[in-house]
């Protein structure tokens, strides 16, 4: 027998719109942090490509290289004040580096908490090689390198020619054969950047959900090619100075 309902059903509290959780929830989630990592990494990769192209202008001669450096400071003038584009780029890069490091540190801390007891047996990587396991310490080496690199060629603080020399002179003096240890550090750090990108390039697409099936294979090949090209492009300049091809 069906008894008629005497009281109306209690009004349900309107459920949270499914899926919505706000920016703070997004940034707290592991997936959100990964997305921050991917997007900030993509910004840095775009910068690296531009940086490498700029570096290679040194092979077009001292005048071209120095006027390119000058152009970076004056682009947009007179519509924009001097250094506008360069300052904007620096701000975006600084934010990208901070975001990238923030997500790396918080994911690393989460990972450390997730495995408090380590395995007794030495674990052998079952996946594709060792590169993916260099990301964290590799990242630290890259940060130290960037600090040195800025002190060397941007601020001239540790460069023999100092801040007032032309960019070309700073490069030639910085990689002088007598300072072979600087060049060696650059080589190690750039190889580290290459390994970082070898995993990071395709990984960013995977994190953003763009790496299904065949796409992953193409992205993997693309990551290997682009990371190799970037390393070779960046290494070309210090090694050319080292052997005296650029002087």
């Amino acid at each position: 027998m069906v008894t008629p309902r005497t009281t109306p059903p209690k009004a349900q509290k309107t459920p949270k719109r499914p899926g919505r959780q706000g920016l703070s929830g997004f940034l707290r989630s592991s997936n959100g942090k990964k997305a921050v990592m991917a997007v900030s990494g993509a910004v840095l990769v775009l910068f690296l490509i531009g940086h490498m192209v700029g570096n290679l202008k040194i092979f077009l001669g001292e005048g071209t290289f120095n006027s390119y450096a000058e152009w970076l400071r004056t682009v947009g003038e007179p519509a924009l004040p001097a250094r506008t584009m360069l300052t904007l780029t620096e701000i975006v890069l600084a934010l990208a580096v901070i975001a990238h490091m923030w997500s790396a540190v918080s994911l690393a801390r989460r990972a450390a908490k997730a495995r408090p007891v380590k395995y007794a047996a030495r674990r052998k990587s079952q996946a594709n090689g060792y590169v993916v396991h260099t990301m964290r310490y590799g990242g630290v080496i890259i940060v130290l390198f960037v600090v040195w690199h800025l002190l060397d060629l941007t601020f001239g603080a540790v460069n023999p020619k100092g801040y007032d020399a032309t960019p070309y002179d700073r490069v030639v003096a910085g990689f002088d054969p007598s300072r072979w240890w600087v060049t060696a550090f650059y080589v190690v750090a750039l190889v580290m950047v290459g390994l970082h990108l070898r995993h990071g390039l395709w990984s960013a697409f995977q994190t953003l959900g763009l790496a299904n099936g065949r796409a992953r294979h193409l992205l993997n090949v693309g990551a290997a090619v682009l990371s190799t090209l970037l390393v070779l492009g960046f290494l070309a300049v210090p090694l050319a100075v080292m052997i005296g091809a650029v002087k």
């Binding site: 994911l107 990972a111 908490k113 007891v117 993916v132 396991h133 990984s203 790496a211």
Partner: protein, 245 residues
């Protein structure tokens, strides 16, 4: 063949645990890894010792109960194989074999090699289902599903929830498991109404349980006894970004 086993022994959740060395003699190459442990346990019982506790049920590679880290590799080095389907012919006479439980904070050790995988159940409870009265199975062709989607959903659905992905991941991430369930339901028509809320709720629960984040190392898919592909994690990431924004 004769083997030296280094086995993790832990009396209970509160015990700190230690590696204990055992000799096992006359192991047949046709034994499964678990049968080899049965031989050890029978001897330990006869000697009045406590047998080594480990999870197991079907012993035919489909239930997801068994699993241990063998020489540093979840389910051992044989690919796409559960521990129960790993045979002793892959070992050599005189080998030393290290056997440990899954190591992850969300998988506390119950005893010896047995861990509590309740965290996986709670991830499923958070959204790994469809809220429709299912009734009896509908006719196979009553709701058309694209062949590729049906195939991909089925591949994802082969996950047996053993936890090897977590054990192998350097971050202790449960992404492969969670993503397999999300992909399985998200690719089928029945899973659409809750697709957005499901991915957000399951990822949230995965984080709450204390699993680490995915860094796409691929260690999970390499040890997965069902060969679940990283595709599912890409799918989960895509669904999550769509749903959460």
């Amino acid at each position: 063949m004769n083997l030296t086993l280094k086995v993790w022994r832990q009396n209970g959740p509160a015990d700190s645990g230690r590696m204990v060395t055992y000799q096992v003699e006359d192991v047949s190459p046709d034994m499964s890894f678990l049968e080899m442990l049965d031989v050890l346990n029978e001897r330990l019982i006869l000697e009045g010792d406590d047998p080594v506790a480990f999870d197991h049920d079907c012993r035919e590679g489909i239930c997801g109960m068994c699993g241990m880290v063998i020489n540093g590799v979840a389910h051992g080095e044989q690919r796409a194989t559960t521990t129960c389907q790993l045979h002793m012919r892959h070992f050599k006479d005189g080998d030393t074999v290290t056997i440990e439980p899954w190591r992850a904070a969300p998988f506390p050790v119950v005893k010896d090699l047995v861990v509590d995988r309740g965290a996986f159940d709670r991830i499923i409870q958070a959204g790994g289902f469809i809220s429709v009265p299912a009734g009896s199975a509908p006719d196979a062709h009553s709701i058309p599903v694209k062949k590729e989607n049906a195939d991909d959903a089925f591949d994802a659905a082969t996950c047996i929830g053993c936890g090897a992905c977590v054990a192998a991941c350097p971050n202790g991430s449960a992404s492969l498991f969670t993503a397999a369930k999300i992909t399985h339901l998200g690719l089928l028509p029945q899973g659409q109404p809750e697709r957005d809320s499901r991915v957000v709720a399951m990822v949230e629960q995965m984080d709450l349980e204390g699993f680490g984040g995915c860094t796409n190392t691929g260690e999970c898919t390499a040890v997965c006894p069902k060969g679940i592909s990283l595709d599912v994690i890409s799918q989960m990431n895509r669904d999550y970004l769509k749903a959460a924004n």
